[in-house]
Symmetry: C2
């Protein structure tokens, strides 16, 4: 939490996107009897799964176990999370009439189970480690709703943007309201920090981000600002969007692995915090190589206050758990000891 506020810390904190989930055998054991959505809907079980990586990996934060599409389930969108595919929407959104299906979200009523999970987690974490809440960003939710399933090229989404901009803006407006309600409720339930995940926004050219997405990101962070809960704004493929995202209002920007961290921090400005940015596939490499790459990220962070160590994207399902544990140790060891860091050769 101090790093998130750009205060000095004795060692760099670290957590990993997708730390809760498929990499852990104890999670896979639970999944034998429960779907992902069932886990989310059972607050005690959801809290167990959220805390598994905290115990196992030694990370410095818990992130709520949930899915980006949870608020869409909350407003009654008919969707399934298909293993190996992702969210599949029964009736994709294609017209103004379809927007009616996106009614406002009432989190205490529609997603009571999420808020209950957060309350349990805050109690179980007991102030020792923070809980990060999160939501999918409107563009990424819109991508699922319009494409109907995960996409590579986003033809339908961009066709709507370019060809039916009023419909697009109507969709983003509704999703923004849903996202704000959802994140505010998470903060009120006790989440210590919030991350907005715009997983697919890297599909956009900067001009299109500015026109079709940025106003909504700005509205979200403006709405959250009075809460005094640190917010992280993360997307992948954002190398050419970072110079815009810095003006969206989040005090911390998540950086993927394509932009070296020192360069990314220069782009977003040293008045922001940064989170990142090890290539997640690095964790399949031998430990000596992982140590070098961790050292490289820390050197680029340069000991500046406001760095939260993370990956540049989520952990891959097959990542060896032992290597993830080592990576956490390396972050702690090398960020606490300048001599040790200097001793790691690249």
């Amino acid at each position: 939490m101090r790093a998130a506020r750009r205060e000095a810390v004795e060692r760099t904190p670290v957590w990993f996107m997708r730390q809760a989930g498929r990499i852990l055998p104890e999670y896979r054991a639970i999944r034998e009897d429960h779907t992902l959505v069932e886990i989310c809907r059972q607050p005690e079980l959801c809290a167990d799964v959220t805390l598994q990586p905290v115990d196992r990996l030694g990370v410095d934060a818990a992130i709520l176990f949930s899915d980006i599409v949870t608020p869409l389930l909350g407003v009654g969108i008919d969707l399934k999370i298909v293993d190996g595919v992702g969210p599949v929407i029964a009736q994709p959104i294609a017209s103004a009439d379809d927007l009616e299906r996106l009614r406002p979200l009432d989190p205490e009523h529609d997603l009571a189970y999420v808020l209950e999970s957060i309350r349990i987690l805050v109690e179980r974490l007991d102030g020792v480690r923070p809980l990060i809440g999160f939501a999918g960003a409107p563009f990424t939710l819109a991508a699922y709703l319009v494409e109907g399933k995960p996409s590579r090229d986003f033809v339908k989404v961009k066709s709507m943007m370019f060809g039916a901009p009023e419909l697009w803006h109507g969709l983003m407006d509704r999703l923004t309201n849903i996202t704000i309600a959802y994140l505010m409720a998470q903060a009120k339930a006790g989440a210590n920090a919030l991350q907005l995940f715009d997983s697919w926004v890297g599909a956009l050219a900067p001009g299109d981000y500015a026109t079709f997405v940025q106003p909504y990101a700005q509205r979200i962070f403006a709405a959250l600002a009075p809460l005094d809960v640190p917010c992280i704004h993360f997307g992948t493929g954002t190398a050419t969007l970072l110079s815009l995202m810095k003006d969206d209002g989040a005090p911390i920007i998540g950086i993927d692995w394509h932009t070296p961290l020192d360069e990314a921090w220069r782009i977003v400005g040293h008045d922001k915090g940064v989170q990142g940015n090890l290539d997640p596939v690095t964790l399949f490499a031998p430990e000596s190589y992982v140590r070098e790459r961790v050292a490289d990220v820390l050197r680029r962070a340069g000991g500046r206050a406001g760095h939260i160590f993370n990956l540049g994207h989520g952990l891959h399902p097959q990542t060896p758990v032992a290597t993830v544990q080592r990576a956490v140790e390396y972050v702690h060891e090398l960020s606490a000891n300048a001599d040790a860091l200097a001793g790691v050769t690249a």
Copy 2:
């Protein structure tokens, strides 16, 4: 060809990646009776398919109809191009022993049909329009060979890079030799320009590109330099790689749609030509919007010599042909007439 040599032109030339192929009904008619590989192996048919878009779309260059994996077929790799999936390799490469399967390519023997297609095309194009030859870059070929099929996260490829760098470099060395032999033979058969397609290289962080890929790209362009055939170096997701790629030796850099063209040209240097960079999904939009986006790219090119108009990636299969035709007209009209260009509002 003058634009490729950064000489002044009266209007900006334009061609589109994947212009030959699935967007054209006359191509789909041929595909009812022939697989993609069968078309490539029949030089007259291959030439027909290569020329279809030149006639239909009015583009200023033909690009050889072929596939990135053609040279792998040439050296006897067991692979299939599966519709809707892409290349699937029967036995992916995982060990030093597997490298033996990548013997040197003898283009006149192994890929005689490609060279014959080129000779037919040069005759049929009769100097009115240039023929662009191409090859997949070693990284992209390696990605298919190691992953065994198209991948999103390149876990196996990067694991080999990071964990078995000698094996990786051995693989890249062999693929580089194959690529050089293939491109030199295309030039010798009459191709007027050559494009190196590194479709998947955007998966890499800049440091990894510099270590694991760049030396091989440099070797390719150094080998081709004496031929005096303009070379284009293209990849997607390369925003943070452009500042490295500019030193790889290609006189023209292909730019995807993530970096605005003026910024990209500044990064690669005005002593290079640039090719690009309309988002291919723009061509699903209404024609007035397409005209605005074409104008935007041309304005960013700023009338500077050395711009070849193209997309930032290949045409999507469902792109409306009429819009593609209009886009070609807009490029010609607006690049030839500064007043018309100034009159297009964004």
